[in-house]
Amino acid sequence: MLGHSQIRLLALQAFLLAGLIACTSHPVGNPTTFEQLGGSPGIEAIVDDLLEIIVEDKRINLQFADADILRLRTQLIDQLCAESGGPCVYNGLSMGEAHAGRGITTAQFNALVEDLITVMTARKVPIRAQNRLLKRLAPMHREIVVP
């Protein structure tokens, strides 16, 4: 049989567990992924940082050697904004069309993912928002990487 002190201990544990769950789950009206990326200015900064890293990244920079960087910048911003639930529409080519014939490998796709994570982490984007964005971008792998 449970003694009084054991019941108190159990109640305390239940209380602490409930508190832990409340802290780790989402409060009502929590910010969207778009907001957690810093809204439009945040996404613009992320894309600017990302383009800087890509230029230096020997694993992938050759794939961008002939790119129109300003156009790429606009399209990346629109795309990240749209995918994160922001008020933008991506009007560019489909991912399949945009990358056709480039022979992009999974290693190169992942290199860009890693660069994006590096930038978001440096900009203190919460891990949940990073992951939710990655979840939206991951399906592009099957259009961009030719098996």
């Binding site: 290693a107 190169q108 992942n110 979840k135 099957r142």
Partner: protein, 294 residues
Amino acid sequence: MTHSPTLPKRRLCHLILGASLAASNVAAAGDGRLLATGGATQFEGSAGGGLVPWAVLSGYGTGEQNGGTAFLTRVETGDYTLEVAGLAYTFGNRLELSYARQRLGLGELQRRLALPTERFDADVVGAKLRLRGDLVYTGGPQLSLGVQHKRQLDFAVPGAVGARDDRGTDFYLAASKLFLAAVDGRHLLVNATLRSTRANQAGLLGFGGDRRTGRSLVVESSAAVLLDPHVAVGVEYRQKPDNLGFAREDDWKSAFLAWFPNKHVAVVAAYVDLGSIATLERQRGAYLSVQASF
């Protein structure tokens, strides 16, 4: 011998240049997969968690790359210690070959039964073929077929207590999938492995027994949450056959914390519950594994 060594020399240079170009194209440093997606190395030498082989292949190589791992693992359960060292190498994220040497320190059992040996050694040679799918990017799970050929190297005692063979081969089918942002915005890894085996205590006590000689089909499973790109917490469960009459054999369980500081190193710390082993009950304790990837 003064005249012109130029031609063969130049040819040699071309050959070396060509080989290194080929090596850098075909087998570039195997680091194309995302951090942690190579998993750790389980105690039989295959890429996986701690107890269970997963569908992922060792190292970080993608389809165009080769790469592998080396690992050291130590388990202490109070009465026993298990030390394992091994190597694995993966070709083009398609075929993994592995080798592990296991050493079970008998400790308390040797004292209690006055055994002539203080340890059981075993070898495991493994191969794993990725059949289809990708852990991260395909709709379905990554699916791999594996084989672990094991040899128990100190068979006198296991043979005396009813084990039939000093060697045996396990076959397994593993399915692994990473669900992105699935648990409160964290990535969730789920693995299920179906194994056909005759092994007693994973082969450390030989294969087949007086109670059951043939193969058993067992289920092994893992679930882990990536708290961030570098840290995962998870649990594993490994069902086991119960072939020997002299002692009960239990299923194995673990709870682990894995740290991937970069693509070269991984450290896994775990609490394992290995149940009853050769009549000694409640074998629980610490598991530590260090993996280098290249």
